[in-house]
Subunit: 311 residues, 3 copies
């Protein structure tokens, strides 16, 4: 059975991007495909774009949608095997996943990293638990280590905007008052490794992403140098990976400015804290792609759901 | 672009009331109009009638509905320009409004007055923020200073029940243990100024509504005198406007009774606290219109959505 | 008007089970029946299976669904007559029930026992309040004293699995760290009294269920003796009925084991705490019916909604 848990579940990124752009031109062209089929969106964390765009994508395909805030509306789940469940958890993932998948044709799940235990986060217990026990395809609406719907939307946006055969794309760390997960950055890095681009990551020392994900992508600790002559600069905060989940500093020097942006187009997954992550001038300027990135979330979700419905 | 933010967004109240009454006779007559179109209901506050009746109205028109409790399910929004967002707010209204309006054809919003800062409440930042930045029509599901879906439902109810050319209609303040907003009273007053009626407001001293809304409507501080020979008495609590957001007293003398009601029909927007705002005898009697007022919320919302879909 | 508040609202259990099994074979065969009709699901408590399976059942019948978490999204209700409502409750059941039933064709409600006051729980104020004042059929999605959608699903499961003319069925109490309501056990006991079966209840002393529900069903305080030669063992925790709502002990000897299960098939309504209520070996073994019981929740709800739509 096919799932959509990581960008690596895409067999051909160019084909999926092309298909998403076709869906964008005629969103309801495949309304019959999802007719009589149901998607269940399970949120273990808050969501705005993902919540609405994934619903919209499913509706565009004629599907019926059931949305559930698992944490506040359901029962707390146990993920360990063999536990004597006399504490806080009321139901085991074995039962929950099997049961939920009997009520729908696709289950989409959001479950963020807790950022307290690297090994536990990387085990991706919620998504992998559902994958293991569910009888229907699972879609990752942002897990602990990946956000592949966002990365696919970003690939669509790059596909629409890019005019060069080999653009320079920079992923730049930015300051943030809270400790944030690595999921968006990880999936963007993985997606960029499937693109023909001059791709570089820039972040302060201590903020290098997981080397198993970065692979051969160059990491430049001098942000200005990294951004020189860039065509696209993707800005995102993440907490330290080596000093797991820590905010080492909030160095405001790393905020993206119009001056550092130069002639590049600006990308961010949103929500974004203005004048902390990026200055107003960038977001309010003509080089910002953030609203179109959010728009493309619908078509990213829609191509994923279409592929799963067809398989 | 048209919005429905206040009763003044209605071009002809008699025409809209007539159309709503036609919709009530055949609620699903225009099911094709909304087909393939989506409304997003964003709740920043709790809701019963508005939540269900607006959904029902949209479904009657064939629309797809996405409901979101913005506060608990999404991110807290920033409304000020130029803020350095390193505190509690995670996303700016500029991004949120633009993004949400890409996922739907109409956005409906509930965001109550906080009653701590008159100027801030009157700026109506949530609704006006969405209006300014969204690319689709905005519907007011009760803002800080207006509740025009309620007032339109009230106009429908008056239209159905009134038999006189110029009825006497009284808006009477009533006691309540909590500080309540002015939105319902404001919109009722504005709606009544579009009607041919002998309209009077009665409230204790210190509770006069915003004079810019009241205009020339007489305010009578003697409730019994105001209610004499009334055809309709609309009861509602609100906190002080001059001593903004304060509960000056909970004078139980102002509770509506069957005796004060006389032969008038009783109106209230609900929810209503029995034997505090109005005695049981009135609500359980034959002169109460409150259930029909709530029923008409569906057709008020439906005529508004129909007008927006048509425009 | 017909409602579905208890298993006794079923006129013929064999007929309903037969019809549910037909619906299971072709779930969308009656999609026209619910077209243009709306169900409102009101949750006063958390829910997973009931939330999703009842939605799914309604969608299978072509209905439109509005889901509301009454406690967190609406207003707190008053159930007493004649109250001076100047405390915590904002709206009376008289208004709420009348109003909600104007927005839909069926209202389904979950409102658990509080387990602090037997008389109050047995008055079943939420469900009975809606029944009394609503103008549409009410469906019990688990009240204080009954969970008839679960019991109907259990009857369907027994109907599918049973091969004997008179099987031996055991309802066994099991330990649990929290005080749980009696609703599931009560409805199972009532449902079994409509079946041709050798039915016995086993529980520790002090945990006998309400004698008015148990009637002539034998209660055996020796669990091993009760389970001998059973065909089906339904396991469930409940708090004390005589010492109302108390957890008298958490005697782990009462946990269901593969050894005690013998050749019987294992049933539980879920959620279930592994290795507290039942050991892993049972749930992971081939004699467990719990996933199919959950699956049958859809068809139990669907036959109920179908009957109500037809009536």
């Amino acid at each position: 059975m096919k799932h959509y848990l990581s960008i690596h579940d895409i067999d051909s990124l160019p084909d999926w991007v092309a298909e998403a752009r076709k869906l964008k031109e005629n969103p309801t062209a495949h309304k019959a495909l999802g007719s009589g089929r149901t998607i269940c969106l399970l949120f273990f964390n808050n969501s705005l774009r993902t919540r609405l765009s994934t619903q919209k994508a499913a509706l565009n395909l004629g599907m019926e949608v059931m949305v559930m805030n698992f944490g506040s509306e359901g029962w707390s789940l146990e993920y360990e095997d063999g536990t004597l469940m006399n504490q806080g958890t009321s139901e085991h993932i074995k039962e929950a996943a099997r049961v939920v998948s009997q009520y729908c044709d696709i289950v989409a799940i959001r479950a963020f990293a807790l950022l307290t235990d690297k090994e536990k986060d990387e085990a991706e217990v919620v998504l992998n638990g559902f994958k293991k026990y569910a009888s229907v395809p699972i879609v990752n609406m942002e897990g602990s280590v990946a956000h592949p719907l966002q990365a696919l939307a970003d690939a669509i946006t790059l596909g629409e905007q890019n005019t060069k055969t080999r653009p320079k794309v920079v992923l730049s760390w930015a300051p943030h008052p809270k400790a944030l997960p690595h999921a968006v950055a990880n999936s963007f890095v993985q997606m960029m490794q499937l693109q023909d681009a001059d791709f570089v990551i820039t972040n302060p020392k201590g903020y290098d992403l997981n080397p198993d994900i970065v692979n051969n992508v160059p990491i430049e600790h001098d942000q200005r140098k990294a951004c020189e002559d860039a065509d696209f600069i993707y800005v995102k905060n993440w907490s330290s990976y080596s000093d797991y989940g820590q905010v080492l500093h909030e160095d405001s020097d790393w905020m993206m400015t119009q001056e550092k942006l130069g002639k590049a187009q600006f990308m961010h997954c949103l929500p974004v804290r203005r004048n902390v992550v990026v200055e107003d001038a960038v977001l309010d300027g003509t080089q910002s792609l953030v609203i179109e990135q959010a728009n493309n979330r619908t078509y990213a979700a829609q191509v994923v759901l279409k592929k799963l419905l067809e398989s």
